[in-house]
């Protein structure tokens, strides 16, 4: 396209207008000014185009040139993404550090993946093969954990020619040529470009039948999220959103984690980076960083790039899903992203809807969350993207627009609670207001793997907690002494469940990750205590006597004392409960 000279007409924070910009296409990427800052076209009219700039615009002059790249905002996908940390528009921060030092300067252009590194590539396709979009034509070991599959871009298909043999190649080396039916020849390398705002195509959506196992008791047992599902973690500040996200990033059984630090603290990203370069994945024994991609747009980095960071993250996730991996995206926090939308929208002088947010907030949220799913990918295998988004409602008030609109597009809701956090009950997930709509779909999986008991215990636990919350209303008014014994028992047992089961210490070696088998046994012991005590109370023996057996305290401590490998102490404990309580009954009858 012949550029009629594009020049800057006006500048207002991160939004500029471009004279003669009518030739620009919506959502195309442009380079702004002599420093070639990266921007994206967000509006076009007859005289000018509106561009949001992903970097600080200080020092920009009007009449500086603008360059059209004639392509939408895209990210380069290929081996070398895992273990790396990127800014909101997929520039690798480690390379930026080498270029500009400890502070991020403007106008840095660095490719997202290392173009010089040589990869050991095993070429799978040979001349004459017919390949369609998504088929794998080469493989390389990206990290010890992840085999990177090089796929034909979804839009291409054709017959292979001039395929090279296996060997060491750089990401931009041509591996083979693909001749389409119309005779067009495309050269395929180890990498491909993909526009971040466009979902990558798949063959089919499949039902979500497996949970994302997280090792967090309250999540796995009471409010599970399916692989391919969406969950939201809303909470006021200090309620533990970030720690919940970190725990999931560390312990969930996804193959790949994409962690998006969207408008959050710089130190938190440093922490993840430091910790993940040391911590080992419990299943494989390999470094966690070997399965993690980090995207950091900290709160002081340019706001427009914050808006893009979410899309960059999900595009990377979809790319790995297409290889047949299960990917979990942790976005902390989607509220900052929504605020970035609001800020840009304000600068564009759009008509605001609720609380100044643009009217298209719900549709943008929907677009994002709908990119999750359990899919049959183009190559025929299965892969999934699970989205877990933190929400930071202003004043901890869940009625604000971002939380409310998010709730419409997610199906697991982990409501974090300020009162619980103040009492240092972590994870501060409120068991009354949280919910998971995936339970019916996942029940067969639980039943198959852990037997029918699991569902029964879950029901029992949640009904005990429900009843307790009702009883506590009464206790608040008249004290616990006046409750009849059977209700006192509910309060006592629910306390054991709250402290001994729901509460989980992220910094305790044993407690930070708990396999579902142990969760099941812990539930079993606690329910056993409740049911057996019911029997005792039924014989008119006061609850205080049961309390004196010390069983309640013992149960509360099991999470710190029983290891994850050897669960036999839990079986013994169950027997001990029976023995002690039977003895109590005998004593009273004598």
């Amino acid at each position: 396209m012949e550029n009629k000279e594009l020049i800057i007409r006006s500048i207002n924070g991160p939004v500029i207008t471009v004279l003669n910009g009518s030739s620009l296409s919506m959502m195309n990427m442009v380079h702004v000014g002599k420093e070639r800052l990266i921007g994206e076209v967000v509006g076009v009219n007859k005289d000018y185009a509106v561009v949001q700039v992903y970097e600080d615009t200080t020092g920009l002059y009007p009449n500086e040139p603008v360059y059209d790249t004639c392509s939408p905002m895209s990210v380069k996908l290929g081996p070398g993404l895992i273990g790396n940390i990127f800014d909101g528009i997929a520039r690798p921060l480690r390379d930026i550090e080498k270029l500009t030092g400890s502070f991020i300067k403007r106008g840095v252009n660095a490719p997202s993946i290392d173009e010089e590194k040589l990869w050991d590539v095993e070429v799978k396709a040979k001349d004459g093969d017919f390949l369609s979009g998504g088929s794998v034509y080469a493989e390389t070991e990206e990290t010890e954990l992840i085999k990177h599959k090089i796929m034909v871009p979804p839009t291409l298909s054709g017959t292979v020619q001039n395929a090279v043999s296996s060997g060491r190649y750089k990401v931009n080396d041509v591996i083979l040529e693909l001749k389409s039916e119309t005779g067009q020849v495309s050269k395929l390398t180890l990498s491909q470009m993909w526009p971040i705002r466009l979902p990558r195509p798949v063959k089919d959506r499949l039902p979500m039948l497996k949970p994302l196992v997280t090792g967090q008791r309250i999540i796995d047992t009471l409010f599970p999220v399916a692989k391919g599902g969406c969950a939201a973690v809303p909470g006021p500040f200090g309620a533990g959103k970030t720690i919940t996200q970190h725990q999931l990033a560390k312990w969930s059984d996804a193959d790949i984690i994409v962690y998006i630090g969207c408008g959050e603290r710089g130190n938190e990203m440093t922490e993840v980076l430091e910790e993940f370069s040391k911590l080992k994945d419990p299943k494989s024994g390999k470094l966690m960083l070997d399965r993690t991609v980090l995207i950091a747009n900290t709160s002081n980095m340019p706001v427009a790039a914050r808006e893009a960071s979410i899309y960059t993250g999900i595009t990377l996730a979809e790319y790995y899903r297409d290889m047949g991996y299960h990917v979990a995206i942790l976005a902390d926090s989607t509220s900052r992203w929504a605020e970035a939308l609001r800020e840009i929208s304000g600068r564009l002088e759009e008509m605001p809807a609720e609380e100044g947010y643009p009217a298209y907030l719900p549709s943008r949220l929907a677009e994002f969350y709908e990119r999750a799913g359990y899919m049959e990918v183009l190559s025929g295998s299965e892969g999934s993207v699970t989205i877990i988004g933190a929400v930071s409602p202003q004043g901890g008030d869940f009625s604000e627009p971002v939380t409310q609109n998010t709730k419409r597009f997610i199906r697991t809701f982990w409501a974090l609670d300020r009162t619980l956090a103040y009492a240092r009950h972590f994870p501060a997930i409120n068991w009354i207001t949280s919910y998971s709509e995936y339970i019916p779909m996942l029940s067969p999986w639980y039943e198959k793997n852990f037997g029918p008991e699991f569902a029964r215990y879950r029901m029992k636990i949640s009904s005990l907690l429900q009843e307790e919350s009702k009883l506590l209303e009464i206790v608040k008014l008249i004290g616990s002494d006046v409750l009849p014994d059977d209700q006192k028992l509910i309060v006592e047992c629910a306390k054991v469940i709250r402290v001994g089961f729901l509460q989980q210490n992220a910094y305790h070696e044993l407690d930070t990750y708990v396999p579902i088998e142990k969760q099941l046994k812990m539930m079993k012991v606690m329910i056993r205590l409740y049911e057996k005590s019911q029997e005792v109370v039924g014989k008119n023996i006061p609850v205080s006597q049961i309390k004196n057996t010390g069983l309640f305290e013992e149960l509360i401590r099991i999470k710190y004392e029983v290891g994850n490998d050897d669960l036999s102490p839990l079986d013994r404990l169950e027997k001990k409960i029976d023995d002690k309580l039977n003895a109590l009954i005998a004593e009273n009858q004598a």
Binding site: G59, Y61, P62, I104, F237, G266, N267, N300
Partner: protein
């Protein structure tokens, strides 16, 4: 030779519009000279073709469309920096006001700073002992952290901040320290209080003060914290000093921002504050931290007064989302005569977990503080029950909680304004107080620690007999 523009085309609050300008860049500084010789400064905040919108720092009082000459300076807002800044006093825009003349600058820096690359950051780990139990024990301050004080008008936040400055030290560390003090819209008395306190403790030669007092121009207030943080970064990362930045009062700053935003005609969000309040505050708070390979650090203690004591007001709310915790002061404690009136439950230090415990303070510190939090939370429940059914009707355990609660406030939280407790003292008081409670109620401490530190008073008495 600089071009000088005569006259203006529009004046609106603190903003003026100049038409027909060429070669002006975004955020450029300009000098506006009135016919009577008065000099003012402004910066370009919007350019539209040949029209530039300029924000005048000192306000537009006395400016007419004709009586001014404007010349652009060819640079963004910068301040001169040198090590000589220590001991000096500047106004809100970084000009010396102590009559000691201009600084001989070592370099000039854009006050907006640049974001620290998360890859280059060093995760803060060394704890700063402030000698205040409620902080050291429960919400430990870490070097390189941003830990605001959420206060309200009439509470003793200034005294607390001053005490922190006097007593703060990092164990076994003798590197140079400095204090950068930024006053935004505070009364003259407050600024004077701090100055005197720095003087009495002999720290004045290590303090850089930036004062934008309540009567000073409001637009300048937007520059004040940026000047202060630029100075702090310069001292920390250029001269390897440990810098503690005190910024008070962030509420005045946010109000200045709101005033400025509404004069620009921007769409307001909650309570009239601009939609970008979060990003704006983050661009200040995120300037705390440490960098790998550089010994210096910037630690921030911003002070803000919660309007109407409301922690969900946008200013404390957004601050809490950015900073690494908060120290909350409470009026009811102040009324009970407890200094410092730190409300322990909503206070939090996010970096604490990695800076305390074995090898940092003492092995029992994490569990102890956890237990104190949990027990004190139960005190609140017992109290609310007592207010309904009366204290006499409480169960035995709840009665113990009532006693524990009172002692916790009187003995742990309360201390005198010059009392400097060691971490050991703080932790020991904590254990003493926990002895009020039966062992079974302590579910956050594991058995080994309990045996080592928990002393059952009854057992002791029996043993003594």
């Amino acid at each position: 030779m600089r071009v000088e523009y005569v006259g203006l085309s529009e004046i609106n609050g603190p903003l003026v519009v100049l038409d027909g300008v060429k070669d002006v860049f975004f955020e450029e500084v300009c000098e506006i000279i009135l016919d009577n010789g008065q000099k003012r400064f402004g910066r370009v905040i919007m350019i539209e073709g040949e029209k530039a919108v300029i924000q005048v720092f000192e306000g537009t009082k006395g400016i007419s469309l004709e009586n001014v000459h404007t010349s652009f300076q060819g640079r963004p807002v910068e301040i001169p920096l040198s090590k000589e800044m220590l001991g000096r006093i500047f106004d809100g825009a970084g000009r010396p006001v102590d009559g000691l003349g201009d600084l001989f600058p070592d370099e000039r820096r854009n006050i907006n700073g640049m974001p620290i690359n998360p890859v280059s950051r060093k995760y803060p780990r060394s704890c700063i002992v402030t000698g205040i139990s409620a902080i050291d024990g429960m919400s430990t301050l870490i070097r390189g952290q941003k830990l605001p004080i959420f206060s309200s008008s009439g509470l003793s936040h200034n005294e607390l901040a001053a005490q922190m400055v006097r007593q703060a030290k990092v164990q076994d560390d003798d590197s140079e320290f400095a204090i950068v003090f930024a006053a935004m819209g505070v009364k003259n008395d407050t600024a004077e209080f701090f100055r005197r306190d720095f003087e009495e403790s002999g720290a004045l030669q290590r303090v850089v003060m930036f004062l934008n007092l309540a009567s000073d121009p409001i637009i300048e207030r937007i520059l004040t914290p940026r000047c202060a943080l630029t100075a702090a970064e310069y001292l920390a990362f250029r001269h390897n000093m440990h810098v503690l930045v005190i910024m008070t009062d962030m509420t005045s700053y946010c109000e200045a921002l709101r005033e400025f935003s509404s004069s620009k005609g921007e769409i307001p969000s909650r309570k009239g504050y601009p939609g970008y309040l979060y990003s704006d505050l983050a661009s200040l708070y995120e300037r705390a931290g440490m960098i790998e390979g550089i010994p210096g650090s910037v630690t921030q203690v911003p002070i803000l007064t919660m309007p109407n004591d409301d922690i969900t007001h946008p200013i404390p709310d957004l601050t809490g989302y950015i900073t690494e915790g908060q120290i909350v002061l409470e009026r009811s404690l102040e009324q009970k005569g407890i200094y410092p009136p730190i409300s322990v439950l909503p206070s939090l230090s996010r970096l604490m977990k990695d800076g305390i415990g074995k090898g940092f303070t003492r092995e029992d510190h994490p569990s102890l503080s956890n237990q104190l939090f949990a027990s004190y939370a139960s005190v609140q429940e017992a109290r609310s029950l007592a207010s309904v059914i009366g204290e006499d009707e409480l169960s035995e355990l709840d009665k113990k909680y009532m006693i524990f609660g009172r002692r916790f406030e009187e003995e742990f939280v309360k201390q005198s304004i010059d009392e400097n407790r060691t971490v050991e003292q703080t932790l020991d008081i904590g254990w003493q107080l926990l002895s009020e409670l039966p062992k079974e109620a302590l579910d956050r401490v594991d058995t080994a620690l309990l045996q080592k530190y928990y002393s059952d008073e009854e057992e002791n008495e029996i043993r003594q007999r």
